[in-house]
Symmetry: D3
Subunit: 129 residues, 6 copies
């Protein structure tokens, strides 16, 4: 195993969403730990650690893409949390999801928004709900 | 027609990519001018003009989504131009496309990158190519 | 807010599926009421109210598209109800879904059909089940 | 070969778009005639010939689905022709495509509309263009 | 009804996943038995019975496609069972899903892998979990 | 750069389709050589070199997935060549594409088959055409 890519990826993943990182690793531990390893090494170790783009912009891009694709809500929720963790405001995230109505249609935007509502409830943003 | 939404949308579209705006309107003029009207009114008049999210972040989100969806290259090229026009650097845009390899696979990222190459050539970024 | 587009959209939405309209508005009320507003204004206020296409044909088109896309079952269920409400027969709707096996594959058609089964049960079409 | 399904399918395909039927058969003749056979037997022989849904509604559904999916423009063009052939008006077809902006986004609707423009030009609807 | 296609399809479906075949038929019995008939006749009666490709390769192809499409998890689970039934090893199936990270992104691969974990648990592969 | 992953990937890529490997690297050289590096390192260096699945099965899976996704024809053509290069017969590949009609619809299968026809012509399989 390439320790440095894995270590870099794990550190980055912990930074943007520590709990999600642990969850992914543990959910894959008995079925395919290699997939967990690759998820940490390539997306987080190789891509998110590059300094060409700030983490906030990376999460803007990921939230937009996963909302538009619309078939990976669990991963969207991870990145909605991550977006909040790296400095996107609630309103900015809502706006990114809202904007996806233009490119992927209203159902995709609506499902993304309801996923964000769940995320905010899970984080205890009680004032709003 | 709601003049103010249309006027606001047209102004915003001209700001982010004047030529593309004219092209869309003229390409639809004899087949369905109402679609051109709606494109200007809703995405640009209603959405892009909201001040909750800066224009640069909007284009980060759009480039990410269109690269990931992968079935609308002409519109991706419009927004690759727009992203450059509102302040994304070449390297940031390449990085957004590169990151889509994680969420939509390498073919989507590769096709997005080659679309960006075409955009840069069309803009006369000759030094690079 | 553009009262007339919103009022027209709300009226149309109530006509094709009153309960769904209320549900969408209330589910978005505390997270992003602007998305609810846009859903009512643009799809229902601007598009569904145009008289170029009858409401039955609009629902035929929407049921077909959402079945084929396959990643927005809650919205498909709304429009399966709407299709019944504006005059499509049960058998016609089944046939539209069945036909999607040709264009989006059998899994999409099967999932669409099971969604329709849920809709019919919820509406109390007890004789059939 | 099941003659009756094939014969029924071929007859139906000729009715809705004779030229397209021949083109599909000839384009597949030397690479995979069995695919041509299956296209005629199942979609056209088994599905389109069922009398539960009128041909016009079938084409409304197909144009909607293919516009929304957005990755099969040649087949969309076949069915835009077919929709005209079985009695949809130009304006109705434009409206179906326009409506897809709601469910699959504006790029999908725009690409569908430009495909329809090509179809109309190919059919010699010269007055409009 | 074309008895021979249906009978051939049913026999083939029973061979690759008897329980799933019964489930599909019974789930559609009261809503659209014709869809069940078509599923047995065309995919299984016409396609899977052709001897050009061995059943193991057919299931490799299907598992790959359904993992990549990502919007039909119930059908993916049927074919994960079928792949095991026709001779793919657990490790081969994990590898096919893992490989989809390249073509459809990591979320699709992750969701496919977790679906396979459910399948293995349902089959009582207790040693692993 | 991790030499060994890159070297392993390049060697593997040359084995399955030498020309395509060079083409990808050169097409990305002046726009984003890092994407070329990642394509060689992760898909080919990390994934295709694992011995859990034979190369022929890998290409069966990839051809199926890219045909079903339907929005990356250039990459599909690369892997249609690769499938032939690692031992799939022409008829097996046609059968995989044909089978995708079941899971992604007939337009996807038809477009995949016509892409394969182009590949065979480019390879000079003159007898067939």
């Amino acid at each position: 195993m390439d320790k440095s890519r894995y270590q870099k990826g794990l550190k980055l993943l912990e930074k943007i969403d520590g709990k999600a990182g642990e969850n992914v690793i543990s959910s894959l531990q008995d079925i395919c730990p290699d997939l967990a390893k690759f998820i940490i090494e390539f997306p987080f170790g190789d891509i998110y650690t590059r300094d060409t783009l700030d983490l906030r912009s990376r999460e803007v891009a990921t939230v937009a893409a996963l909302t538009a694709l619309g078939n990976c809500l669990p991963q969207l929720k991870v990145h909605l949390n991550a977006a909040l963790n790296v400095g996107c405001s609630e309103n900015e995230i809502k706006e990114i999801i809202l904007q996806m109505s233009v490119y992927a249609g209203f159902p995709a935007a609506l499902n993304g928004m309801l996923a964000f509502k769940e995320v905010l409830i899970e984080r205890g943003h009680e004032k709003c709900f």
